[in-house]
Symmetry: C2
Subunit: 298 residues, 2 copies
């Protein structure tokens, strides 16, 4: 089974490749060869380990890759483009140096914003994909995750965006801080989540005081692990929403992400009177890479 | 050299012991046998490894210990006392089970507050020590650290207190998050610290947005590692001060802690018109343990 072209989502911790044919995805493969564990010479071999079976001898197969692979510490730098701009631009793709004659690898550049300083790498492809899936969309796209992004879209361009470390802070606080003692397991408590969101939004200046309270209530008031986890998540998402208010207030919002975290954001936004539409993150990446590929070929 | 009694500050990561004579400290010793690496049977041997040379045969030497050693996961639980109360109370000391006939070990209980839920263990001894060093003090004691505490003191009692995870969040964000890339080394930049404090206090609802900006400015605007570290510290301390406003506004404030972090807090408070007095944390612990010992003997 040979691919017509290959779509690659290459982040810090994972490498995902998709063999694309005329009718769409033929097959896919994933490895843990993320950017974080590769040196510069390791990228091409890591890619070939996954995609060799999809390559035809004597033919050059296009590979379009987005994510941290195009960062300064990645395979080859694809310099940031400055907003306002479209989320993708075929002429700004950077060709990675390769030895294998069967592939031509193009890296998608990220976006940067000068003031306030901000960067994204990978999310621009999801935004392009969301626009491809929702033609003519004007409004705000929220991309929750390790580093959540909010982007204001107008007439097909990213006008401004803002990054929040919400997912990374949740991971650090729930797994590596003193709070980890009271929130093991996968339990969840919607009411505690809602209360956390409301609390952070109503009194954002108190957030610093509310975090340790989770531990203290666990020690002296029997707060359950499920309620502790959900409240921490609610407080952090509420803190993000407090700062992102100019993005969602009175706006059409699309959430692009994985199912679980997108549902949490949608729930929090609904409480604020915002009905968000949801797009799966994986669908958005593929649609964005396909839109990029279509521009390259055109 | 035999001790009249032995003062012990026994936290999660360290064990510090002081041999005390008529004139004060005779000698001291420290080990990494913190509560975190000991099981219940390991406490007495760990203590004896440090203090055996100070014990006289045929005599029982008093040991007074504060900190996590008295927690549920410690040597023996010294149950929290509920505020409002004095920071120490000789009748609430708990005697740890020991085999060696040369020692009698008393553990200082921590304090708890029901609403909002909060706990302290170790800081109550520093507060007692600060009161011993500043007789008649009424006002607020700030104890910066991994888990910073603010305590309102009136007529010798802890009326209320509040814990902030500021130090732990600084450690996690500067060493384990994406921000670590741009803040290696020990550099410092006072102006960046001041700006971080001001920013967090003026617009606490934006804190979630300001953290990733440190990374972004490093990537696209050349923010120095020293400025990045200092701004992160300023933002986190500013966030704490925003929530602790009822504690410091218009109050006499004493900061009890190590020199570096106390100076940062004093600088931030000075910018808010609050001239804080400083007491060294080590001095406060010893003064608190000495006051406890004096009550036991009396």
């Amino acid at each position: 089974m040979k691919a017509e072209w290959i779509a690659v989502d290459w982040g810090t911790t994972n490498l995902r490749a998709f063999a694309i044919g005329r009718e769409g995805i033929l097959t896919q493969a994933v490895s843990e060869d993320g950017m974080g564990r590769l040196d510069r010479d390791g990228f091409e071999p890591a890619l070939l380990r996954l995609i060799s079976p999809w390559l035809a001898e004597g033919t050059v197969t296009d590979v379009v890759a987005c994510g941290m692979v195009g960062s300064r510490q990645g395979w080859h730098e694809a310099p940031y483009r400055a907003v306002p701009c479209t989320p993708l631009d075929a002429e700004s793709l950077v060709t990675a140096p390769t030895r294998d004659p069967r592939i031509r690898v193009r890296l998608v550049p990220g976006l940067k914003q000068t003031s306030p300083a901000d960067v994204m790498r990978g999310e621009e492809t999801q935004i392009a994909g969301a626009l491809a899936l929702l033609p003519g969309f004007d409004g705000v796209i929220c991309l929750p995750g390790t580093h959540s992004k909010w982007a204001h879209l107008s007439a097909g361009e990213v006008v401004s965006f803002q990054t929040f470390m919400t997912g990374e802070m949740f991971a650090l606080l729930s797994q590596a801080s003193v709070l980890r003692h009271g929130m093991q397991g996968d339990g969840w408590d919607d009411a505690a989540f809602d209360a956390g969101v409301s609390d952070a939004l109503a009194r954002p200046e108190r957030i610093g005081a509310r975090l340790f309270g989770i531990r203290a209530e666990g020690l002296i008031a029997g707060l359950s692990a499920a309620a502790a986890r959900a409240r921490l998540s609610g407080l952090l998402i509420g803190m993000e929403l407090a700062a992102a208010r100019p993005y969602w207030l009175g706006q059409a919002v699309v959430i692009v992400g994985s199912d679980g975290i997108s549902a949490s954001y949608a729930r929090a936004l609904k409480g604020l009177g915002v009905e968000a539409r949801l797009v799966r993150g994986g669908d958005a990446v593929l649609a964005g890479l396909a839109a990029t590929r279509a521009k390259v070929v055109a």
